[in-house]
C-alpha cells in the first residue's frame, strides 16, 4: 500500500464515526451546556442568565427533594437488590438444583416485560382494598386492606424499590451467574483441602473472583437508579406522587423542560445530575480500588 494511502486510510475509516459523533453526540452536548445558561421559553425565546440556573437549582427545595428521593431509591436498589441478585446467582449456580435453568429464566423474565407493563401490573397489585399485596398482607398478618401504597408519602419509595427489586434482581443475577461460572473451580478445591468452610470460600474465593463484575454491577445499578424516571412516572399516574414522594431528578428535569417549557433550567438539572453520577462513580471506583491494578 503506498505511503500516502497508508496515512489517510485510518482517518477515512474513522471519518464516518467522527462525523456522526460530532453531529449527533458532541453538538447536542455542547448545545445543552450552552442552553443551561439560558431561561428558555417556546421555540425562539431565550434569555441569558449565566450561572443563575445552577445557583437557583442549589436553592430549589424541589431539586433537593428529588435528590433525596433518588438517592434513597439508589441506596435501596444497591443495598437490597445486589445482595439478593448475588444470593440468587449463588443458589442457581449450584449443580444440584433441579430445573435451575427454568428458575434462571423465571427470575430473569420480569425484565422481558418492559417497564410500562410492569408499572401497570403493579398498579393493580398495589391497589388499596382490591390489590393482591394488600389482600395477602391482610390474610397473613391482619393488616388493613386499604393501605394506599402509591398515595401515602411514606410508602411510595418502599413501593418503588419493591417493584424495582422484582424487575432487576433477576437481571443482575445473570451478570453474577456469568461471573461465578468464570471463577476457577480449582480454587474451591484448594480451599476445601485447606479446610476453608463455605463462608470462608465465599469471602476469599468467590468475592475476589467476581470482584470486577461486582464493581461493574454496583456502578451500573447506581447510575441506572439515578436515572429513574419511567417506573416512578407510570406507577404514580404521570405525577411525582403525594407530597412529591416519588419525585426523582430526571422527573424534575422532565417537569421543567417538557411541562414547564424551560429547557434551560432542565439542561442545568441534567448537567448537575451528570456531575453527580460522575462523582459517585469516581468515589465508588476509588473505594473499590478499581483502576489501580491497571497501573
Amino acid at each position: 500500500m503506498p505511503l500516502r494511502t497508508a496515512r489517510t486510510a485510518p482517518y477515512l475509516f474513522l471519518a464516518p464515526f467522527v462525523l456522526s459523533f460530532l453531529i449527533f453526540g458532541a453538538y447536542p452536548i455542547i448545545r445543552s451546556v450552552m442552553l443551561s445558561f439560558y431561561i428558555t421559553s417556546g421555540p425562539e425565546a431565550q434569555h441569558f442568565v449565566g450561572l443563575d440556573n445552577y445557583l437557583h437549582l442549589l436553592q430549589d427545595p424541589d431539586f433537593w427533594t428529588a435528590v433525596r428521593n433518588t438517592a434513597t431509591f439508589a441506596l435501596g436498589s444497591v443495598l437490597l437488590q445486589l445482595p439478593l441478585s448475588l444470593g440468587l446467582a449463588l443458589l442457581l449456580n449450584r449443580a444440584d438444583i433441579r430445573g435451575r435453568n427454568v428458575f434462571r429464566f423465571i427470575f430473569f423474565s420480569p425484565n422481558l416485560m418492559g417497564l410500562v407493563f410492569s408499572a401497570l401490573l403493579f398498579m393493580l397489585i398495589l391497589a388499596p382494598r382490591f390489590g393482591l399485596l394488600n389482600a395477602a398482607l391482610h390474610a397473613l398478618f391482619g393488616l388493613p386492606s386499604t393501605t394506599r401504597w402509591l398515595s401515602t408519602p411514606s410508602l411510595v419509595m418502599p413501593a418503588l424499590i419493591m417493584v424495582a427489586l422484582w424487575l432487576y434482581t433477576g437481571f443482575n443475577m445473570v451478570y453474577f451467574l456469568a461471573a461465578l461460572q468464570a471463577v476457577d473451580g480449582e480454587l474451591y478445591e484448594a480451599a476445601t483441602i485447606d479446610g476453608a468452610g463455605r463462608w470462608a470460600q465465599f469471602w476469599h474465593v468467590t468475592l475476589p473472583g467476581i470482584r470486577p463484575v461486582l464493581i461493574f454491577v454496583v456502578v451500573l445499578s447506581t447510575i441506572g437508579s439515578f436515572q429513574l424516571f419511567e417506573l416512578a412516572f407510570l406507577l404514580l399516574g404521570n405525577s411525582s406522587g403525594p407530597d412529591q414522594a416519588g419525585l426523582t431528578i430526571v422527573m424534575y428535569l422532565y417537569q421543567n423542560g417538557f411541562l414547564g417549557g424551560d429547557l434551560g433550567y432542565a439542561a442545568a438539572i441534567g448537567w448537575t445530575l451528570a456531575l453527580m453520577v460522575l462523582l459517585l462513580a469516581l468515589v465508588q471506583l476509588r473505594i473499590t480500588g478499581t483502576g489501580k491494578e491497571a497501573r
Partner: protein, 470 residues
C-alpha cells in the same frame, strides 16, 4: 498468458482498486448511493404528505376527526392526516417540533393543564396563531360560553379554541341513595348544599365499609373542583397566582376533615382517581357518589358496566345556600401552529370539526358524553335522549343545565409547578389533621398554602419580561 511489461486495462483497474485507501466495499456503497440519488433526481417520489397534519391524543377524538377529514376531502379536495399520539407524547413531540422547527403539525389538540406551558415567551414567538380574529370574523365567540376560552387566552390573544367545557356534576348510586331518601320524604335534588348532603345521608355512612363521597386526597384533583366551585382558582385572569387566597384556605379547611377526621366527621374516602380501584370502589358501594365531569361519566360507563341503571347525576350541592351548583375539570384545546402552511385551510378544518353541524356534535356526545361548547349544537336530539345507563336520565340536559355557570379556569406556564405544590400542601394538611385534629388547623392551612405559593412565586419571579425585551 499476459506478456510481462504490458500494462493492460484490467491490470490498471486492479492496481487502482488496490490503491484505494478503504478498499472496494465503500466504493460500491458510494456508487450505489450515487446511482440511487441520480435515479431519485430523475424520478422524484411524489410528496404524499397531506395538505394538513393534525395531532390528537384522544382515540375517540381521532375517530371522529377521521370521519370529518374524509368529508373535508370530499368538500374541498384537500387532505387531512389525523395522527393519534399518546397524551404525554403529544406535548413532548410538539415542544421538540416547535423547538427544532421540524415536522410541526398544522393543528394540534392539547390538554388544558399543559396548554399554559406553550404560552410562555414573547407573544409573537408563541408557537400558535392568535385565533381571535378568526373567531370574531366567523361570529363564533357568540356561540361559545366566554369562560370556555379563558384557559387558552393569554395577554389578549386566543391560542386555542375549546373542544369542551367539562361541567362537573355529582354522580351517585341511585339504587342506594334514592330509596333511603324516599323513606325520609326527600330527593337528591332537595340537597342543595354540601352540608345538606352529608347531613341527610349520614345514615348511610358505615366507617371502613361505605362512605358518602369519593374525594382523592393524594392530589389536588378534587380540591380544584371544590376550589373553583367556591369561585377560587390556582391562577387568576391576570395570571396572578391565587392558590393561597382566602377561598383556597376556606376550601382546604373544609375539605380535609371530610377525609382525614379520625372520628365520625370522616364521610369521604378514595381508592385512587385513575386506576381500576376507583371503579371497583364505586361498584362495591365503598363510596356512593363521585365528582363527575362529563368526560368521567363516559369512563364510568365504560369501566363500571355493573352500575348500569344504578347511577344518576345531579348538580353539585353548593358550598353555601344559593352557591354555584357546578364546577369544571379538564379540557382540550385545538391550536393552529404559527408555522402552518395554510392557516386559512387549517382554520376551515378546525371550524368543521369544532363548530360543525349539531348532528356531528351529537354523534360525538353519544360516544364520549362530552358537551361541546357550541351552544347551537345543544338542541341536537343526542343531548336530550334518555340514557338507560344513567337510570333513564337525559344526560346531556343535565350538563347543559349547568353549562353556562361553569367557572372559568385560567392557565399559566407555571401551572404544573403550582399543581405539584398544591398536591404537596394537600398531603401535608391531611397529615397535620390526622395528627393534630382541628386545633390550629386553619392557621396551618394558611401557612402551608402560603409557603407553597411562595415557592411558585419565586419561580415566576425568574421569568424575564419577554415582551418588554422585544
Amino acid at each position: 498468458m499476459q506478456p510481462q511489461g504490458v500494462d493492460t486495462a484490467p491490470g490498471r483497474v486492479r492496481r487502482w482498486l488496490d490503491e484505494l485507501p478503504v478498499g472496494l466495499a465503500p466504493l460500491l456503497i458510494a456508487a450505489t448511493g450515487l446511482i440511487a440519488g441520480l435515479y431519485l433526481l430523475v424520478h422524484p417520489v411524489p410528496d404524499q404528505r397531506a395538505d394538513l397534519t393534525m395531532w390528537v391524543f384522544g382515540a375517540l377524538h381521532a375517530d371522529a376527526y377521521q370521519a370529518a377529514a374524509e368529508r373535508f376531502v370530499a368538500d374541498t379536495d384537500r387532505t387531512v392526516d389525523v395522527q393519534l399520539i399518546n397524551y404525554n407524547a403529544v406535548n413532548q413531540k410538539l415542544r421538540s417540533a416547535l423547538w427544532a422547527a421540524v415536522n410541526v403539525p398544522d393543528l394540534v389538540e392539547i390538554e388544558k393543564s399543559a396548554a399554559g406551558g406553550f404560552f410562555r415567551g414573547p407573544l409573537d414567538k408563541i408557537g400558535f396563531l392568535d385565533l381571535k380574529p378568526y373567531l370574531e370574523r366567523d361570529a363564533i365567540l357568540d356561540r361559545v360560553p366566554a369562560h370556555a376560552l379563558a384557559a387558552y387566552t393569554d395577554r389578549g390573544a386566543v391560542f386555542g379554541v375549546p373542544h369542551d367545557i367539562h361541567p362537573v356534576l355529582l354522580a351517585y348510586r341511585a339504587d342506594i341513595i334514592d330509596p333511603y331518601l324516599a323513606r325520609r320524604g326527600l330527593r337528591m335534588e332537595d340537597l342543595a348544599t354540601w352540608d345538606d348532603y352529608f347531613r341527610e345521608l349520614r345514615g348511610l355512612l358505615v366507617p371502613d365499609e361505605r362512605y358518602l363521597l369519593q374525594i382523592e386526597y393524594g392530589d389536588a384533583w378534587a380540591f380544584q373542583i371544590f376550589l373553583m366551585q367556591r369561585g377560587g382558582g390556582i391562577f387568576g385572569p391576570d395570571g396572578r397566582l391565587r392558590m393561597d387566597d382566602d377561598i383556597a384556605v376556606a376550601t382546604m379547611t373544609w375539605m380535609i376533615p371530610l377525609v382525614a377526621d379520625p372520628g365520625d366527621r370522616k364521610v369521604a374516602e378514595s381508592l385512587g382517581n385513575w386506576d381500576p380501584s376507583f371503579y371497583r370502589g364505586f361498584i362495591e358501594g365503598y363510596y356512593i357518589a363521585a365528582l363527575c365531569p362529563d368526560w368521567r361519566s363516559s369512563q364510568i360507563q365504560t369501566f363500571a358496566k355493573e352500575l348500569h341503571g344504578k347511577l344518576r347525576v345531579v348538580p353539585l350541592p353548593a358550598p353555601v345556600p344559593g352557591g354555584l351548583r357546578t364546577s369544571q375539570m379538564g379540557g382540550t384545546m385545538l391550536g393552529i401552529a404559527r408555522s402552518a402552511k395554510d392557516p386559512e385551510l387549517a382554520w376551515r378544518f378546525a371550524r368543521a370539526i369544532y363548530y360543525g353541524s349539531p348532528e356531528q356534535h351529537g354523534r360525538l356526545f353519544r360516544t364520549t358524553n362530552i358537551l361541546t361548547p357550541d351552544r347551537r349544537a345543544w338542541s341536537d336530539p343526542a343531548y336530550h335522549e334518555p340514557r338507560p345507563y344513567w337510570s333513564g336520565q337525559a344526560l346531556g340536559e343535565q350538563f347543559i343545565a349547568v353549562a353556562d355557570e361553569v367557572p372559568p379556569f385560567y392557565s399559566s406556564g407555571f401551572l404544573p409547578s403550582a399543581q405539584a405544590k398544591l398536591n404537596e400542601a394537600i398531603v401535608s394538611c391531611y397529615s397535620r389533621y390526622r395528627s393534630h385534629g382541628a386545633d390550629g388547623f386553619e392557621a396551618y392551612v394558611r401557612q402551608r398554602l402560603t409557603s407553597a405559593a411562595d415557592h411558585v412565586r419565586r419561580q415566576m419571579a425568574r421569568e424575564p419580561e419577554w415582551d418588554a425585551e422585544e
